[in-house]
């Protein structure tokens, strides 16, 4: 079998450098953390920055196209036939690499300020750099096994970082939950690899895709489903999404980098990478697109019911990834990937902005206890405002508009009108809850000194506020005793946010211009482009309809939270809303409960039943010991007495009988 290599094979030292630098940083910060102290943060940030520069320098090779081969391929080492390992940088992985290192660099910088004074400052950066390395492994690998290794490693890094404040029990629980669900996803990918190897005897993307047309369709669907289980777990798609909101227990920069900009979009990457597989199977596309749309709307609705600023953002992340998955699922790969690209900026922006607020308010995360912050924190307001504009999809003012439009229109073009409708409705809901976040946080007057119960905060821990852990976290955080610094964010935290504002507002213009946009050119050779009949609704009209939905959302939010009357009675209103919030929303559709019933309880029950009836153990020890003196013959007799031996022998003979019937029937038949 000929071996299909994707990309132009060659030697690309820069690629190796940009891949390994973060690993070096992780090892450095891990090994010499105590000596380096704060320098660890600067070193790690610088290494990611250099990685970014290398990635930019790889632009040429990464986008080159020589006789059908797209991108750059660097072979690493060969194993068995079909198990060659190497790095591949084509436009798709280049895009991810740029985001991972670029946005990663900014978030690293921000973390220097945010984590300042934390006892495990160096360790934090070691984990962050390790994460960047793992994520680069994931997107740069040229085969499924490398991808799976990266996939597992980012899960591990995420586990460490969610549980970074391990003295908070909630953080440990959240980390474990995230890990378990992600491992389930890893297993899905592993099975997909099994099936791919069984079909094409290779794990390389090139081989797997070159024969994409020759798979049995049921087998291909199974491969796609297994891959998607991995993608859904990593990208928090229904029903494997429950870990993401809990993951907000980690430090805010972690939420920004891992649980918003990069790691959670690995599922989008996987589906986009395997576009040749998905394009062959309509059922798989339908499944992925539907799950994406469901997640988008379900996440958006849950976003309306949250009070914790980070959980609101978490649900919005889930919802936005739903968009991306819907995009790549239906076949609108450019759209899905574009939304990843813009989302990485504006969601990082939103998280870092919210981090500014949380940091300034001594780890307060409940928006009900904020309010009126516009004047106190104008910079944070601008940061959040641009982010909200972008995510809501207000035309031309923010990046999200362009990419979201590509996804929604893409769904229609690929023949999924229902998903199209869901996309538009979700856009409206998104605008509502993001504006709600903005208005409640920044408008009106400060409510931090109001008694929590008056705001309807009954059970801080149930409502999702890490109130009980926060104090401790704070104590830990303040370790070296420069508390004042927190209330005036250092420039180091503001600069990354300021830099992010630019792409958040402007980057979407790359996608403007339909088939002639720079975006379409960039990916022209990356994805399959089937011939599509023109959509019944044009792109401009779709933009208008979406904008209409967005305006409705903003208007409702304005009416509920930002009018003068609403603001004057903000405390009562918030209290009323908290109390009247339907249980189904506060419990996130009872997914956790369902998962518990479905998997945890049943497996326990299963174990009990099995243990009791199907697996009789060796004789009870007590009986044995009491009559021990009779020794050999005694043991002999007693092992008969249990009946077990007879039962075993009977089972044996039954097996023999079954065998015999089969063989005797055949033997009777072969007689000439």
């Amino acid at each position: 079998m000929t071996h299909h290599v994707m990309g132009v094979d060659g030697s690309y030292p820069l690629l190796l450098v940009l891949w390994l630098l973060p690993l070096a940083g992780a090892i450095l910060a891990w090994a010499f953390g105590p000596q380096l102290k704060t320098a660890a943060g600067w070193i790690c940030s610088a290494l990611v920055g250099i990685s970014f520069i290398c990635a930019v320098a790889m632009w040429g090779p990464g986008t080159q196209s020589v006789s059908g081969a797209l991108g750059a391929h660097q072979a690493l080492f060969s194993w068995l036939p079909g198990f060659d390992f190497g790095l591949l940088m084509d436009p798709l992985s280049l895009l991810w690499t740029l985001i991972i290192t670029g946005v990663g660099f900014l978030i690293h910088l921000y973390s220097i300020g945010y984590m300042d004074g934390d006892r495990a400052f160096a360790r934090f950066f070691a984990y962050m750099n390790f994460f960047v390395f793992a994520m680069l492994t994931l997107v740069l690998s040229d085969n499924f096994v490398g991808l799976l290794v990266g996939w597992g490693l980012v899960g591990l890094a995420s586990y460490f970082l969610i549980g970074f404040w391990f003295f908070k029990p909630s953080a440990v629980a959240a980390a474990r939950k995230a890990f378990v669900i992600n491992v389930a996803g890893d297993v899905g990918i592993m099975f997909a690899i099994f099936m791919i190897v069984a079909s094409v005897h290779s794990t390389a993307f090139g081989d797997a895709f070159a024969f994409a047309g020759s798979y049995n369709s049921g087998w291909l669907l199974a491969i796609c489903v297994c891959l998607f289980i991995g993608a859904a777990a990593k990208s928090a798609q229904i029903p494997l999404h429950t870990w993401l909101p809990d993951a907000m227990e980690g430090p805010t920069p972690v939420s920004a980098l891992i649980h918003a900009a990069t790691m959670v979009t690995a599922g989008v990457y996987l589906v986009a990478r395997c576009a040749p597989l998905w394009s062959q199977n309509h059922d798989a596309q339908m499944l992925v697109g539907t799950i994406g749309a469901l997640t988008a709307i379900a996440g958006a609705i849950l976003g309306c019911a949250q009070w914790d600023i980070k959980r609101i953002l978490a649900y919005s992340t889930m919802s936005q990834i739903g968009y991306m998955i819907m995009g790549v699922g239906v076949g609108a790969y450019e759209g899905g990937v574009a939304h990843f690209f813009t989302h990485a900026f504006f969601k990082a922006q939103l998280f870092l902005g919210s981090g500014l607020i949380i940091h300034a308010l001594n780890n307060e995360q409940d928006v009900r206890r904020m309010g009126g912050l516009m004047k106190k924190m104008p910079f944070a307001f601008i940061a959040m405002l641009t982010g909200v504009i972008a995510i809501s999809g207000i035309p031309f003012l923010g990046a999200g508009f362009f990419s979201k439009d590509l996804v929604i229109q893409g769904a229609l073009e690929h023949g999924h009108p229902y998903l199209y409708a869901v996309g538009i409705i979700t856009a409206g809901i998104t605008a509502y809850y993001m504006c709600r976040l903005l208005f409640v946080t920044f408008f009106g007057s400060y409510r931090g000194d109001v008694d929590p119960s008056e705001l309807g905060i009954r059970h801080p821990e149930l409502a999702g506020t890490p109130a009980h852990g926060a104090d401790q976290a704070e104590a830990e955080h303040e370790g070296s005793g420069h508390g004042q610094a927190h209330h005036a964010p250092a420039w180091i935290m503001n600069v990354p946010v300021a830099i992010l504002i630019v792409p958040t507002v402007l980057i979407g213009w790359l996608m403007f211009g339909g088939d002639n946009s720079p975006w379409a050119h960039f990916f022209a050779q990356q994805f399959p482009h089937p011939q599509l009949s023109p959509a019944p609704i044009g792109e401009g009209v779709t933009g208008l309809i979406t904008f209409g939905a967005v305006l409705v959302g903003i208007a409702v939010a304005w009416w509920r939270y930002a009018t003068a009357s609403a603001q004057s009675r903000a405390v009562e209103r918030l209290r009323g809303e908290s109390i009247r919030m339907p249980g189904i929303l506060t419990h996130a559709y009872y997914f956790d409960l369902a998962l518990d019933l479905l998997f945890v309880r049943t497996s326990q029950l299963f174990g009990t039943i099995f243990g009791r009836f199907f697996d009789p153990q060796i004789i009870d020890g007590a009986v044995r010991e009491s009559a021990f003196s009779a020794q050999w013959l005694g043991t002999l007799v007693r092992s008969f007495q249990t009946g077990l031996l007879r039962a075993y022998a009977l089972l044996l003979v039954v097996g023999v009988a079954a065998f015999m019937i089969y063989y005797a029937v055949i033997a009777g038949g072969v007689h000439p």
């Binding site: 799976l148 099936m195 079909s199 005897h201 243990g611 060796i618 004789i619 031996l645 063989y663 005797a664």
Partner: protein
Amino acid sequence: MTINVTNADWNAVAPIIIVAITGLLVLLLDLLSPKNISRYAAILLGAAGMIVAGVVASLAYWSPAYVAFGGAFIQSGFGIVFQLIILIAGIGSLILVRPPVQNERIAGATALMLWGTCGAMLMAGAGNLMVVFLGLELLSLALYCLCGLADRPSSRESALKYLILSSTASGFMLYGMALLFGASGSVAFADLANPALASSALLWVGGGLFLVGIAFKLSLVPFHAWSPDVYEGAPLPVTAFMSVATKAGTLAVFARFMYAALPAGTADRLLLPIWIVAAISMIAGNVGMLAQHDLKRLIAYSGIAQVGYILTALAGGTHLGLRYAIYYLAAYTFMNLGAFAIATTMSGDREEGSHLANYRGYGRRNPVGAALMTFFLLAMAGLPPTAGFLGKILILSSSVGAGYAWLGVVLIIGTAISLYAYAKVVRAMYQRDEHVHAFEGHAPAPLAWASAAICFVVIIVMTFYPYTPSNVLPIVK
């Protein structure tokens, strides 16, 4: 008709003779030394004998196959690979022998283990049914005694259960052999491959009964009931030996029967029941693991499933399938021995290392041991980057290629179930649990640690330099 026995014939069984004589030497040394022979002396002598045997065996690996004793024993690449795996199992479990087997019995236990190894090695090279049976009985007889060696009632019980059930199965197998003999008029495997036999009812019925014996020794469901109980009762090193050597020897016999002794065109129908029970075993074995609280029982159920995986590789009877089966068997050997080695380091007189409850919080008490154990368990589960993962991938590709994709699907399902069971153990090790009674250390077990380390290294090497023996076919000249 008679045959001439020459030196070449004895050379072919030289490794086996070396091991057998080492057993005698250990006993003699024990007899002649003023006090009882020390544990280390017995073990090291036994291990040295097996290493020498291994070297002698591997010297002949590349030389052409030699049919010794008129077909009773065949020295070929195939048999030698299996013999080496069995020797590794013998060494790996012999060095785990610790106080549970009392010091006065150490020489006897060592000798029995060596002779059991002889039996399994004979099975690996057997060219006719008679040697198969004698090898099997030699192995089994040694194991019955070894199972009963620990001073625990459960140990005796396990020996007895094994004796009775195994004899029953041997009875069926012997009857099958008699019928096969009746069909072909010869006990040699080579004579069974006669196409004229395809229409002989004796071949089918005899083959069926023969396969029952094989299935019992491989502990395939529904012939598996003995293995969890016997494994649980036997002393740790014996369980380690049993879990590998019996399976390796029996698989060698099965592979020889399947590849070399079947008349053309009969394989698919004759072996179908084996594939079916292999499929059932992959599911039932992994499900059985879920409820276990004892490492040895867990390994027993795991072994039931793992044999199913190996049989999946053999299904279809391809050359690659056999090579992959051997690769997986070797990987399985090291995983098992590694896990048992770690269990031994935790064990004292009461074999604490076999109770899964004692692994709670092990990750804190002994991070290295826990990491190794995790590695071995994950290798059994088949997670990358371990030889278990690679082995499963290879098996899958060969089974699909050979037209037994359905077995591959069952393998995947079984693997999914097993992950949960292995993960339970791993999770217990890393649980932050305050209530664990601190589990005091025992006498250091340098040999067991060395064994675990070697297993770890070998699995890693096997993963990255996967060598699947190419010199295994033809099995019978």
